[in-house]
Amino acid sequence: MATSFLDKLPLPEFLKPAEEGPHYGVVGDFDSPEDLLRAIRTLRVAGFTKMEAYTPFPIHGIDEALGEPRSPLGRIVIVASLLGLASAVLLQWWTGAVDYKLIIAGKPLFALEPSVPIMFELSVLFGAFGAVFGMFHLNRMPTYYHAFFNYSKAGGASNDRFLLAVEAADPKFRGEELKTLLDSLGSRHSELVEA
């Protein structure tokens, strides 16, 4: 059954995997990125669409192979930065020229020049938050349970194994046949993984 460390965790019920039920998919285990890529390409040709690769480091070309779209993160970051910029201008203008006017060194109540540093800093700060939390959002992190962890050798993905999951959601999904197919593509250990 599920060998994920998560079983040993005192996790709330809803996070626990359902004992029986639909499968997550078939996961194959490859020695090298090359084998993995080869497998993916073949399966794509075979018409599989719902596939996910699990690797210890990003492998270039894999996205193209899987045919995944570009990440929308850039747009999130730009919006966040502009937000930061606006808030900086607002803060300095409102506090200095509206809410509490003070004559300081005979200088104007608000001017752009001295405001630039803080404008820049806040844009960067908000931008950084956008990038990190945006990424968390897109990757659904943190999520402490994922059916993939039910795969017996899931740990390899963070070490030196290159895994490929064909998900049950795939219209062409055929549990047992897939296992043999993956084995034939060089998978060391293919397994039908519970959801």
């Binding site: 040993k8 996910e52 210890p56 995944e68 990440s71 930065s81 300081i104 990424m135 963070s158």
Partner: protein, 462 residues
């Protein structure tokens, strides 16, 4: 075959990962550090450093209870070691971001084995730096919240956003936050590795939670890589802005010796210079303690030495420029300030600075110095000292003799000044040692990426 590939290429261009390591070896070697008992040197070091940290808090307590008077600060020298140390620490921090961000953008693969530690160094340096702007104030218990734009009932006043010190508040806090985010983001995949290797229940839970459920799926990698790229992208201008703004503390003041447009680039160069020096100091030691020669190769060290020569020359050039401008401006106060700097009561500080910062890096023109860790270590220490003196010279010598000779004075540090400074070094070392002990000091996923490249290239040569 990877071994073959590497073997065949060694003499041409030494690969970044040596000793024929495999992906598994990388995980094993780096994770092992956090999983096994540390070597005894580690215990020696942490004992000393944590004692120094205790001393730091003792000094700060005494300072807050008694007043700034326990330091040497006086009139006219309102800032002494406090701001000197602040700028010094911030400067050191910069190399971390630079290595992880700028070199990343320039696709400098050799950064991979040092960027993690360098980023950690940034964080800890900024933590040490942050102590000073807060505690150098006469009433830190007020400063701690009056410096931030939160409306307060006590006095409904806002901050003065024309003040470079207020810019500092934003710059430094932003810098600290972004560096922390950047660092943690980089850690996530490695934390997952530790999670998956974990045997003890405690480590399983701990790293399970920290890794936020990272699976290494291609989708995750896709967003992750972009996020990392963007962080690197915005950290680069950030790191430049932070030290520029720190330099505004001086450049926007009207004190001769401070009031210079040269400061921003000059300070940034100095920051990178001192930062890399500190990285060399730490890496040469860490490399020796954990014998990571295969991962932190002499190539890494040599590259850093080259950066040191470059930035050292920039700093030296700035020193020269200052004098030229002072002379060229025809401003008698400026002229005096710089003559006084080199030949006044603080001549010794000035010439220490020049020797350490301009002369000592010149040794790196010789390959022997660039490749012998011991020599590098020694020179890097000199540079650290020199860069501290640079800040001290700028602050003390400009302040102690300004416009009206009647108000001229002299600054002498007290034992509290010295112990506080030593204390921050202790804090820094403690944090760094803890980091080495409990977190992957080298970015495993990135190293694996580099290893993959090598294998690819290796195939190419077949």
């Amino acid at each position: 075959m990877a071994d073959l590939a590497i073997g065949s290429r060694i003499e041409l261009n030494p690969p970044l990962v040596q000793g024929g390591m495999t992906y598994a070896d990388v995980s094993e070697k780096i994770s092992a550090i956090t999983e096994n008992k540390p070597p005894k040197q580690w215990y020696y070091l942490i004992t000393i450093s944590s004692l120094m940290t205790v001393m730091l808090f003792g000094c700060l307590g005494y300072l807050v209870m008694t007043g700034i008077g326990v330091w040497g600060n006086n009139n006219p020298v309102g800032w002494g070691w406090d701001i000197t140390n602040f700028v010094w620490w911030i400067g050191i921090g910069h190399a971390g971001t630079l290595i992880s961000a700028v070199l990343f953008l320039f696709r400098q693969k050799w950064r991979t084995s040092i960027n993690r530690a360098a980023e950690a160094m940034t964080l800890f340096a900024v933590a040490c730096a942050g102590i000073y702007p807060l505690f150098h104030t006469g009433r830190p218990w007020r400063a701690i919240y009056w410096l931030f734009p939160a409306p307060n009932e006590y006095l409904h006043l806002w901050q003065n956003f024309r003040s470079p010190l207020e810019w500092d508040v934003f710059a430094v806090s932003t810098y600290a936050t972004v560096s922390a985010l950047f660092w943690f983001t980089g850690l996530i995949p490695d934390l997952a590795t530790l999670r998956d290797r974990a045997v003890s229940r405690g480590r399983k839970i701990l790293f399970g939670i920290l890794s936020l459920g990272w699976r290494g799926s291609s989708t995750q990698w896709r967003h992750y890589e972009l996020a990392y790229l963007i962080l690197a992208g915005i950290s680069t201008p950030l790191v430049l802005s932070v030290h520029s703004i720190v330099s505004f503390d001086f450049a926007t003041a009207l004190i001769p010796g401070w009031h210079t447009t040269l400061f921003p680039p000059y300070f940034v160069a100095g920051a990178i210079f001192s930062g890399f020096a500190m990285v060399v100091t730490l890496m040469t030691v860490a490399r020796w303690v954990y014998n990571l020669q295969n991962l932190i190769t002499t190539k890494h060290l040599e590259n850093m030495c080259k950066v040191l020569i470059a930035t050292g020359l920039m700093v030296g050039f700035s020193y020269g420029t200052e004098y030229f401008i002072a002379w060229y401006s025809g401003n008698p106060y400026e002229r005096f300030a710089f003559i006084n700097r080199a030949f006044g009561p603080y001549w010794w500080a000035y010439w220490t600075m020049v020797t350490c910062n301009v002369l000592s890096p010149q040794f790196f023109w010789f390959k022997k110095f660039r490749t012998t860790p011991v020599l590098m270590f020694i020179i890097s220490i000199f540079i650290n000292i020199g860069m501290w003196f640079e800040r001290f010279v700028i602050i003390a010598t400009s302040l102690h003799r300004d416009f009206l000779p009647a108000s001229w004075g002299y600054f002498k540090p007290t034992w509290v000044d010295m112990c506080t400074f030593a204390g921050t070094i202790g804090l820094f070392l403690t944090l760094f040692l803890l980091f080495l002990r409990f977190l992957p000091a080298i970015a495993m996923s990135e190293v694996k990426g580099v290893l993959y490249q090598q294998i690819e290239d290796g195939k190419g040569t077949h």
